[in-house]
C-alpha cells in the first residue's frame, strides 16, 4: 500500500521555522513508522534526521508525535494509523533538527528526584530479602524506558516547563515504594515542591502515551497520597 507520510522538518542550518514535507512511501500494513522513516532516509532524503536504536520498543530513542499522539516510531504500525500519517517531534522540548529534540532538561528532571536506591543499613552478605508482595508494589514503574513520551504529552508540562513531569515522578515512585529504600522522605519532600506532584491535573495523556503500558496517573496519585500522609 502507498502511505502519505507528512513530516515536520526543521534544519537549523537552513530553515528559520519548521515546515511540513510530504513523502509517498510503499509500506506493508505490519510495517512500523520507523520503517517508513528509514525508507525515506535511505531512498528519498538522506538529511531526514531522527533518533533510533533498538527498533523494538525497549531503548526509548524514537518517541515522537505520530498522528497527534506520542508513540514510539518502532512500536506503532501502519495498520494502526491508516494511509495518512503525520510525524512531528515531541512537544515542549527544543527541536535540535527534524524529529530530534534536546533531551537534557528531561534527564535533569529525572536526576532531580534521586532515582537510585538509598539504604541506611549496611549491605548484608547475601541479597536483601524482599517479599513477592513488596516486589509487586513497584513493579509497574520499573518498566520505564525514559523515552519522554509521557512528560511531553502532559499539558501541565507544556504550561509550566519547570514541572518535574510524569516520567520523573514514575521513577521516584519506583524507589519510594521499594521496601528496601530508606530515602522516601527526601524524595517526597522534593515532589511536594510547587513543581512537583501537585501540577498533575489527572488528564491521563501520560497513560495514553506510555509505550510500556505503565499506569502513570495512578503512580502519581500514589506519590501524591504519600506526600499528604507525610505532612499530616
Amino acid at each position: 500500500m502507498q502511505v502519505d507520510l507528512r513530516i515536520l522538518r526543521f534544519d537549523p542550518e537552513r530553515d528559520t521555522a519548521p515546515h511540513w514535507e510530504s513523502y509517498r512511501v510503499e509500506a506493508e500494513p505490519m510495517d512500523r513508522v520507523l520503517n517508513l522513516l528509514t525508507t525515506v532516509k535511505a531512498e528519498q532524503d538522506g538529511t531526514l534526521t531522527f533518533r533510533r536504536s533498538c527498533a523494538h520498543g525497549i531503548c526509548g530513542s524514537d518517541a515522537m508525535l505520530i498522528n497527534g499522539r506520542n508513540r514510539l516510531a518502532c512500536k506503532i504500525r501502519v495498520d494502526q494509523l491508516g494511509k495518512k500519517i503525520t510525524v512531528a517531534p515531541l512537544t515542549g522540548l527544543r527541536v535540535v533538527k527534524d524529529l530530534v529534540v534536546d533531551m537534557d532538561t528531561f534527564f535533569s528532571k529525572y536526576r532531580s528526584v534521586m532515582p537510585f536506591l538509598m539504604t541506611d543499613s549496611p549491605a548484608p552478605e547475601r541479597e536483601r530479602r524482599q517479599s513477592q508482595a513488596d516486589r509487586a508494589r513497584y513493579d509497574d514503574t520499573t518498566k520505564c524506558i525514559l523515552c519522554a513520551a509521557c512528560t511531553t504529552a502532559c499539558p501541565s508540562f507544556w504550561a509550566q516547563p519547570s514541572y518535574v513531569g510524569p516520567a520523573a515522578i514514575v521513577n521516584a515512585h519506583r524507589f519510594i515504594f521499594d521496601s528496601r529504600d530508606d530515602a522516601g522522605d527526601e524524595r517526597l519532600e522534593i515532589l511536594a515542591d510547587k513543581d512537583g506532584v501537585w501540577r498533575c491535573r489527572t488528564i491521563f495523556n501520560c497513560v495514553d502515551a506510555c509505550p510500556r503500558g505503565i499506569n502513570i496517573t495512578r503512580a502519581i496519585l500514589e506519590v501524591s497520597r504519600a506526600v499528604v500522609e507525610r505532612s499530616v
Binding site: 505490519m30 536504536s53 534521586m114 537510585f116 538509598m118 516486589r135 513497584y138
Partner: protein
C-alpha cells in the same frame, strides 16, 4: 576542543557503566562517552536472566556453571576466564541486588532463578535453575540500575559523543604504543573533541548489524573492535558469531530463551517437537548453536512452516496465562505488536537471528587488551563486554552469559583501570591528532558524487546473512570474502546526502558502515581458514571438530590485502575436551 580525564570509558552499556562506577568510587576522574544516551544501550534489550550459582532454588555450584560454560563453548573457552566468570558471577549479582536491582523473588524473598539452555547440575546431569531474573526485562533492569548508581556516584557522561579514533603514544597500539585518549565527534554540533587519558576502556558492544536478520540495535556496528583493528590490534575468534534460534520471523527481534526455560517448546510444520532428533536429553534447552542448526535442517528438509516453509514455531500456550503474564510479559507483547500473533492461543513464528559476537578485542583476565599470541599487553587500553574476547564464550555463548560477562569483566575493568591510573603518568598528545579523522569525515560529505552508504550497507548485510550464517561452506565463505573486499573498495567512494554539521546521522551511519565492513572482513577471513566445525562455526565440508589443528584462537590482523591470521593456544585447566552432546 581538548578535554582531559584520567580514565575514559567508551560505551555506556552494562560493562562500561559498571567500570565507570568502580572508577568513580576509586576517585579517578572519568569521562563516559556514548553515541547514544546511556539508557539506550543494548544491554537494556537483554531479556531472560543472568546466571549465578546462588543455589536459591536448588543445589548449585560455580564449578558446574564453569563446566557448562566451557562445554557450551565447545572447549574453545579459556578455562581460567570461565572460572573467573562463574565464580565472580555470584558476588556481582548480589552486589547488583544491593544496588537496587528489582529481581523477581522466591516465596522466601530471595532472588528467583529459572532454567536456561545449557545450564546444568553436576556437570551435565540435567537442567538447573541458575538464571536470576527480573521478569523478561533483566537487561533493562541491569542497565537502569547501573545508570542510577552512576548518577548517585557523580559519574561524568558525555552523551551523544561518537568516538571516531583512538590515540596512542609512542607507536601504534599494535606496535608497542600506549593508549593516550580518543577523538570524539559531538553529534549535536559536529565538532571534534580530543579526550586525553591514561586509561581507555572499549565497551562498545557487538556488530550484529552486519547481518540482515538481527536482534541487534542499529547502533551495534562494532565501533570499538574496528578502531582497535585499524590501530594494529588483532580481533580474536571473529568467525564465532551466535545466531539465536528464536528471532521473530522476518524481523529478528529476540524472543528470549526464557520462554523455553519456563517450558516453551519448538515445533515444526507438522507440530512435532523436532529437537528430539538433535538433542534428545536437553531438547529445547540445548545450546543455541545446536538449536539454530536444528531449525536450519528442519527448514532445509521441508518441515518449515508458513507459505515459504521457512520458519518454525515457538509454543508457550501450555504455560498458561499466569506464567506468561508474570514471567514473559515483554516477549508476549513483542509477538502481538510485531507479528500480530497472540501467544496465549497461537504458536509464534520464529527463525534464527544474528545475535552475539563471541569474538572481539583480545584481553587478558585483567581486561587489558593484548595484541599477540604471547598476550603482550597494550598499555593503557582495556576492553570488556561483547566488544572484548577474554574468552569466556569460546565457540558458542550460553544464554545469560553475556550479562554475566559484562558485569564480571566490566567490574574488573574499572578496578584494574583505577589501579593503573594511580601508577601511570599522563600521556602526551600531539596537536594535530584530529586531522586524519577530520579529513575522512570531510571526504564522506564533500565528495562531488558517490554511491549511497545505506544501499551498500544493505548489500553487506545480505551478503553476510546468506554466506556466513548458521551453516557455511568454503564456496559460501569465499563468496563472502570476495564480496566484502568489493564492498570495502566501493566504500572508499560513498558520499552522504546530508552535508550539515548539526546532528548529522547520515554522516555517522556512513562512518559506522566502515566499522561493519572491518568486522565482516575479519569474520569471513577467519571463518574460511578454520577448516573444522566447532560451536557456532558449522561447515558442511568439514563437519567434525578438529582439536589437533584448531583447538586454538584465531587472531585476525588488518592488512592492506586483507587480514592476516595467526593462532594462539586455548587455556585448559580443569576440563579436557570431550565430544559435546546434549
Amino acid at each position: 576542543m581538548r578535554i582531559d580525564h584520567e580514565a575514559l570509558v567508551i560505551g555506556a552499556g552494562g560493562a562500561g557503566l559498571w567500570a565507570a562506577l568502580e572508577l568513580a568510587r576509586a576517585g579517578v576522574s572519568t569521562g563516559v562517552l556514548t553515541k547514544l544516551y546511556p539508557t539506550r544501550s543494548h544491554t537494556g534489550a537483554a531479556q531472560g536472566g543472568v546466571c549465578a550459582a546462588l543455589g536459591n532454588q536448588e543445589e548449585d555450584h560455580w564449578e558446574w556453571h564453569m563446566f557448562d560454560t566451557v562445554k557450551g563453548g565447545d572447549y574453545l573457552v579459556d578455562q581460567d576466564a570461565a572460572e573467573v566468570l562463574a565464580h565472580e558471577a555470584i558476588e556481582t549479582v548480589i552486589e547488583l541486588e544491593h544496588m537496587g536491582l528489582p529481581f523477581n523473588r522466591t516465596p522466601d524473598g530471595k532472588i528467583d532463578q529459572r532454567r536456561f539452555g545449557g545450564h546444568t547440575r553436576n556437570f551435565g546431569e540435567g537442567p538447573v535453575k541458575r538464571a536470576c531474573f527480573a521478569a523478561d526485562r533483566t537487561g533493562h533492569m541491569i542497565l537502569q540500575t547501573l545508570y542510577q548508581n552512576c548518577i548517585k556516584a557523580g559519574v561524568q557522561f558525555y552523551d551523544e559523543y561518537h568516538v571516531v579514533d583512538l590515540l596512542f603514544e609512542g607507536g601504534e597500539g599494535g606496535d608497542g604504543g600506549r593508549a593516550a585518549g580518543v577523538v570524539a565527534y559531538r553529534i549535536a554540533d559536529g565538532e571534534l573533541h580530543t579526550f586525553g587519558a591514561k586509561a581507555v576502556l572499549l565497551a562498545t558492544g557487538g556488530n550484529g548489524r552486519m547481518f540482515s536478520i538481527t536482534s541487534n540495535a542499529y547502533s551495534l556496528t562494532g565501533d570499538g573492535m574496528s578502531l582497535a583493528y585499524r590501530h594494529g590490534i588483532p580481533l580474536e575468534d571473529m568467525e564465532f558469531y551466535q545466531f539465536h534460534p528464536t528471532g521473530i520471523y522476518g524481523i529478528g527481534i529476540l524472543l528470549s530463551e526464557a520462554a523455553r526455560g519456563e517450558g516453551g517448546t519448538l515445533l515444526n510444520a507438522d507440530g512435532e517437537r523436532f529437537m528430539s532428533r538433535y538433542a534428545p536429553k536437553a531438547m529445547e534447552l540445548a545450546p543455541r548453536d545446536m538449536i539454530s542448526r536444528a531449525i536450519y535442517l528442519e527448514i532445509r528438509d521441508g518441515r518449515g512452516a508458513g507459505p515459504k516453509k521457512d520458519y518454525v514455531y515457538l509454543d508457550v500456550r501450555h504455560l498458561g496465562r499466569a506464567v506468561i503474564e508474570e514471567k514473559l510479559p515483554d516477549i508476549t507483547e513483542f509477538a502481538r505488536v510485531y507479528l500480530g500473533v497472540e501467544p496465549l492461543t497461537e504458536p509464534v513464528p520464529v527463525q534464527p537471528t544474528a545475535h552475539y559476537a563471541m569474538g572481539g578485542i583480545p584481553t587478558d583476565l585483567r581486561t587489558r587488551v593484548v595484541r599477540d599470541e604471547a598476550n603482550t599487553v597494550v598499555e593503557g587500553l582495556f576492553a570488556a563486554g561483547e566488544a572484548a574476547c577474554v574468552s569466556v564464550h569460546g565457540a558458542n555463548r550460553l544464554g545469560t552469559n553475556s550479562l554475566v560477562d559484562l558485569l564480571v569483566f566490566g567490574r574488573r575493568a574499572g578496578r584494574e583501570m583505577a589501579a593503573y591510573c594511580r601508577a601511570a603518568e599522563a600521556p602526551s598528545i600531539a596537536a594535530d591528532v584530529e586531522e586524519p579523522v577530520r579529513s575522512e569525515l570531510d571526504a564522506l560529505r564533500t565528495r562531488p558524487e558517490g554511491e549511497s552508504p545505506s544501499a551498500l550497507k544493505a548489500e553487506l548485510a545480505t551478503l553476510m546473512m546468506d554466506n556466513v550464517g548458521v551453516f557455511r561452506t568454503a564456496r559460501m565463505m569465499a563468496t563472502a570474502v570476495a564480496g566484502v573486499a568489493a564492498i570495502k573498495d566501493r566504500y572508499t567512494r560513498v558520499r552522504v546526502r546530508d552535508t550539515g554539521r548539526i546532528f548529522n546521522t547520515d554522516l555517522l551511519e556512513a562512518r559506522e558502515l566502515g566499522y561493519l565492513i572491518d568486522g565482516a572482513e575479519a569474520m569471513a577471513s577467519s571463518a574460511i581458514a578454520r577448516t573444522e566445525s566447532r560451536g557456532a562455526h558449522s561447515r558442511d565440508d568439514y563437519p567434525e571438530r578438529d582439536d589437533v589443528n584448531f583447538l586454538a584462537h584465531t587472531l585476525a590482523y588488518r592488512g592492506e590485502a586483507g587480514p592476516s591470521l595467526r593462532y594462539k593456544p586455548v587455556t585448559i585447566t580443569r576440563f579436557e575436551p570431550k565430544p559435546r552432546t546434549y
